[in-house]
């Protein structure tokens, strides 16, 4: 089920929260909404879920728009708001039943549905506890269960893993991934590894504007400058600077070699080569030919952190055509 967001603009008083945001998501996509705090992620989600209207622009879900078919739109969406608000005085089953009934789930299918959600979200042990007594991790699961109780076509999750411990984060991410195969998922986060781990596509938003919209792999790929390889060699008595470096430099495509010191008789080099080249084989041959011992060879990958940092700190709009502008200058 496609979610189409067109030219959304929203002002809070005179401050502009989001400016002319346009994107669309299809079934099977898990879209990561990434941005620094206050970038407009939550505002966009609140508009999609019909909580607040935009000043300009429109959102359509499968042809239903948020103004004229608000109820249909809300029926199709499962929403986990920021901070995961819950009713502390209700117990888990009561709350899920309440949500299910509001979504018009018929009386006979409520119980099987509750059972499934309790199982999927791992709430079995706490099902009869008051929500107010639950730990943060369990509350988050209750929030997710609530969002998915009616098997919605579109899931909108505002920071779904905030406050969870690493194990729980893993579980929730796997859960989202499984669900995401058959549904449309939009999740916001400011944790980059989350996007890397769960999302197939990422939109980076800063100061209310979309500055990047691409797949995570592509984004990383395009942002990679030169290839950088770290090499740790155990040598004989040859001097690394005067004897080894010249040999490495003569290898095909090597741009520069930097010597980073010797520790326990192991020399560390950082070798750069042009973007897109792969000199690992050559390096291995060099090691073998010179009867050295290879302890470590590591190819650094540009992390999404760096991409994110480059994009959000320059504050400029990013187009597919001018990736080169943001390339690291080394």
């Amino acid at each position: 089920m496609a979610v189409t967001v067109n030219n959304l603009t929203k002002y809070y008083g005179s401050t502009q929260a989001i400016n002319d945001i346009t994107f669309s998501v299809d079934t099977g996509e898990i879209l990561g909404f990434l941005g620094p705090n206050g970038a407009g992620k939550t505002t966009t989600m609140k508009i999609i879920t019909c909580f607040i209207p935009p000043n300009n622009g429109i959102v359509e879900i499968d042809g239903y728009n948020i103004f004229e078919h608000s109820l249909e739109v809300r029926r199709k969406i499962g929403y986990l708001p920021e901070h995961n608000p819950l009713y502390p005085e209700m117990n888990v089953v009561e709350y899920l039943e309440f949500s299910a009934r509001l979504h018009n789930i018929s009386r006979n299918s409520i119980n099987p549905r509750l059972k499934t959600m309790i199982e999927v979200c791992g709430l079995g042990d706490v099902r009869h506890k008051d929500i107010g007594e639950l730990s943060k991790g369990y509350r988050q699961r209750v929030g997710l269960a609530q969002a998915m109780i009616h098997d919605p076509d579109v899931l909108i999750l505002d920071e779904p893993t905030s406050g969870l411990d690493p194990n729980q984060i893993m579980e929730i991410r796997n859960l989202i991934k499984t669900i995401g195969m058959a549904k449309t998922v939009i999740l916001s986060t400011h944790i980059l590894s989350e996007v890397q781990a769960t999302c197939s596509r990422v939109i980076i938003i800063n100061k209310g504007e979309i500055i990047a919209d691409s797949t995570t792999d592509k984004l990383r790929e395009e942002f990679r400058g030169s290839e950088i390889i770290t090499l740790l060699l155990k040598g004989d008595n040859r001097d690394p600077i005067n004897e080894l470096i010249p040999i490495i430099k003569k290898l095909n495509m090597v741009e520069s070699v930097e010597f980073c010191g010797t520790e326990n008789n192991a020399h560390k080099f950082i070798i750069t080569s042009p973007k897109g080249s792969d000199i690992r084989e050559n390096l291995f041959q060099f090691v073998v030919n010179n009867s050295l011992i290879l302890l470590e060879m590591h190819r650094s990958v540009v992390s999404l952190e760096e991409v994110f940092h480059t994009l959000t700190s320059t504050g400029e709009k990013f187009k597919e055509s001018d990736y080169s502008k943001y390339m690291p200058s080394n």
Binding site: C50, I52, E72, Y79, N104
Partner: protein, 238 residues
């Protein structure tokens, strides 16, 4: 309007009243006040009558009890953020407001139900005029509806329950006192202003006179305030 949705909200709110201590505290306070005056009348003044209870005791108690009942309805949801859950579910603002309104009204009804015991005990020892008592209960429920709608509106304005309570009480007090301060208004305005006062219409009902003008007053006041509450909920859309 889906009656089923209203029912879901109604059940949730009524449960919330009784799952927390609010309902019990309110019922106990109410019965203590009303009971004290009831006992006073019989044993000290030696009259078997329910008039003071209907005329002043219960209405005066309503002035602070009802805002205490309604204050949490929206203020709490706005404070905890659950209003976002509620408003992004497939149900209309009217269904939410009506569900909450009916739950408060139900709590008031449950609260005044035990006073029927006073009636029964009095009826056993004396000859009571039943008309004013039936009219009185009807009047109480109608007045409670109007006060609840005012309190609900106050609750939509803020995320602070104390503020909601105070605003609610001021609104109720204003409408209740209106026909008690008529003396300060110029003669030509008196009848109009008197018509807006709650007590003017209530006293007719509690005398046992069920006049459509009074019914229309309560229905329209309640309806209008509920409409204003829905509008106030929609203020997020402005």
């Amino acid at each position: 309007m889906d009656f089923n949705k209203i029912l879901i909200i109604f059940q949730k709110e009524l449960k919330a009243y009784f799952n927390s201590t609010i309902a019990y505290v309110i019922i106990v306070v109410f019965l203590a006040i009303v009971g004290w005056f009831y006992v006073n009348n019989i044993f000290l003044i030696d009259i078997a009558t329910m008039r003071p209870m209907f005329d002043s005791v219960i209405p005066l108690t309503f002035i602070f009890i009802i805002p205490a009942i309604t204050m949490r309805q929206f203020a709490e949801e706005q404070k905890s953020g659950t209003i976002e859950i509620l408003l992004t579910k497939p149900l209309s603002d009217w269904e939410i407001v009506l569900g909450k309104f009916l739950s408060s009204l139900a709590l008031v009804a449950i609260m005044i139900l035990p006073t029927v015991l006073y009636y029964i005990s009095l009826a056993l020892i004396s000859d009571l005029d039943n008309g004013p008592i039936l009219g009185g209960y009807l009047g109480l429920l109608l007045m409670a509806s109007a006060f609840i709608s005012l309190g609900l509106f106050a609750s939509t304005l803020t995320s602070n329950q104390i503020v909601a309570f105070i605003i609610g009480m001021i609104l109720i007090l204003f409408l209740y006192l209106l026909d008690k301060v008529l003396i300060y208004f110029p003669g030509w305005a008196v009848t109009t202003i008197e018509y807006f006062g709650v007590d003017y219409h209530y006293s007719n009902l509690s005398r046992g006179v069920i006049d459509t003008r009074n019914l229309i007053y309560f229905f329209s006041l309640t309806g209008f305030m509920l409409y204003i509450s829905v509008t106030s909920l929609e203020k997020r859309k402005w």
